[in-house]
């Protein structure tokens, strides 16, 4: 007997699960409304997104939007830094020589085996006490021209918070770099051995092989996982609120304390994170499909 499709006769399980989920939601809503007697009030939120600026006679971003911009800046800059770091470390990870391989292994294992929060605390004290003074970021707003400040404001946010943001970027980049390293390593190792042999047989050197044969192919394979790492990074960036980087989560905590509207504000901010993460995921998958079409 030939069947095209296996008959599916377990619909009752689906129905049961669906019923359980609906029941749970109804129950939670009921508890919140009758037992907690919580009065939902969302009306304050728009005011924390934008405020009316009397001087400029226009709307200006308030805490939540400022936090969102900082989060996006953090994510973009740290993925760029993490990509550079991860690229170098990933190449070292596949080196024939022991030393670079060990160095990169040490980095990856160190970061993957420490909780992110602990890592960020440890590195923050080092970075904020050593690296940011070294870059001279604390005095930048006094020393620079208005034009430079404007550009900096667009790229990295308000100059008075510059050293704060840069510390956050470096922490996140170091942290995510370890994951990018693994992505790059996997990309390089996915190139078949025959490609290297083909290149060797026409006399290419090790470096030329990397440059002209392995890397161009590895990069194509690395782009999709790198894109999803970027989305993870947007969400992970909330960790740096613990070291007082003024991004979305940090500022939300401030709003929550000053308004006492804990439920509403956190539910709303969860929605903001969801929207940007989901929009990025959607954008990347579209891009990927288009790239696949171009290749064919």
């Amino acid at each position: 007997m030939i069947r095209n499709k296996a008959p599916y006769d377990s619909y009752w399980i689906d129905a049961l699960v669906l019923f359980a989920v609906v029941f749970l939601i109804v129950y939670v809503v009921y508890r919140v409304n009758t037992v907690l007697v919580y009065n939902w009030d969302w009306s304050f939120i728009p005011g924390y997104l934008f405020r009316w600026d009397e001087e400029l006679q226009s709307y200006a971003p308030n805490l939540l939007m400022k936090g969102l911009f900082t989060t996006i800046r953090l994510a973009i800059w740290s993925i760029i830094l993490a990509a550079i770091l991860g690229f170098i470390m990933g190449v070292m990870r596949t080196s024939r020589r022991l030393f670079p391989r060990m160095l990169s292994r040490l980095y990856v294992e160190l970061i993957r085996n420490i909780p992110p929060v602990v890592f960020i605390f440890v590195f923050y004290f080092f970075i904020s006490s050593q690296i940011t003074p070294l870059l001279g970021l604390d005095n930048i707003s006094e020393d620079s021209s208005p034009m430079t400040l404007k550009v900096l404001d667009f790229l990295l946010g308000p100059p008075e918070l510059l050293s704060n943001v840069v510390a956050g970027i470096i922490c996140l980049a170091l942290f995510e770099g370890a994951y990018v390293t693994e992505i790059v390593r996997a990309g390089i190792q996915s190139i078949p051995k025959g490609q290297v042999e083909g290149g060797m047989s026409i006399g290419l050197s090790r470096i030329q092989l990397m440059r002209y044969v392995v890397m161009p192919q590895a990069v194509q394979k690395v782009v999709p996982p790198l894109a999803s790492q970027f989305i993870i990074l947007i969400k992970d960036s909330s960790i740096v609120s613990l070291i007082s980087i003024q991004e979305l989560t940090f500022l939300t905590m401030e709003v929550a304390t000053s308004t006492q509207r804990v439920f509403e504000i956190w539910v709303f901010v969860a929605g903001m994170y969801f929207v940007i993460s989901y929009a990025c995921a959607f954008g990347f998958s579209r891009l990927e499909k288009r790239m696949a079409l171009h290749k064919a």
């Binding site: 083909g198 290419l204 192919q217």
Partner: protein, 252 residues
Amino acid sequence: MPDNAISTETIIQIERVSKWFGDFQVLQDIDLTVRHGERVVVCGPSGSGKSTLIRCINRLEEHQSGRIVVDGNELDYNTKHIHKVRCEVGMVFQQFNLFPHLTVLENCTLGPMRVRGLTKKEAKSQAMEYLERVRIPEQAHKHPSALSGGQQQRVAIARSLCMEPRIMLFDEPTSALDPEMIKEVLDVMIDLAETGMTMICVTHEMGFARTVAHQMVFMDEGRIVENAAPEQFFSNPKNERTKLFLSQILSH
């Protein structure tokens, strides 16, 4: 055909070469001399070490004892020697190993531009010349994935020839091909043989071997068990294993 002149000059000298993969000895005291312009066909059952042997000639595999000298360069740990040998020795693989991210033309110009230092223009015109020799100039701007297996293997031959090698190695060049594509690749190889190129081919194509070979080498369990001129090899093999192998491969 095997009557165009072979010089007396030795171009590849292999002396007592042995190699192990872990505890398993893949090559046992191999001795082989190839003269300039000579065409050698290596055959034998799978796992007999024939691929490993020719891969040692351009150092894709390292031998562990004995000597290999290619055109005056001994293959040792000196990377300069290895580089020199790889520039002089072309290789064609069973799986083609073309670069999928480059077009056919770019596959052919990469080596000449980066290793030989040709300009883009020179490399291009030379590549077109060789693509014409393997009869696919019209495919130059396609990517390898758009080509049939036979066409891909001919591109691989052209890619090697663009480096203007003195020796060509063929590692089972027709084994991964559909039967109807084998001939087009063998025809190109026969053309190449007629130009007087020194060639070492690992292949099971006995018809091809009979046409082009000066020297037939039969390997089994890591040793060369028979090394003879083709007439004698096919009509009157000395070794029992050679007889068995030939009867199996020629019976159909």
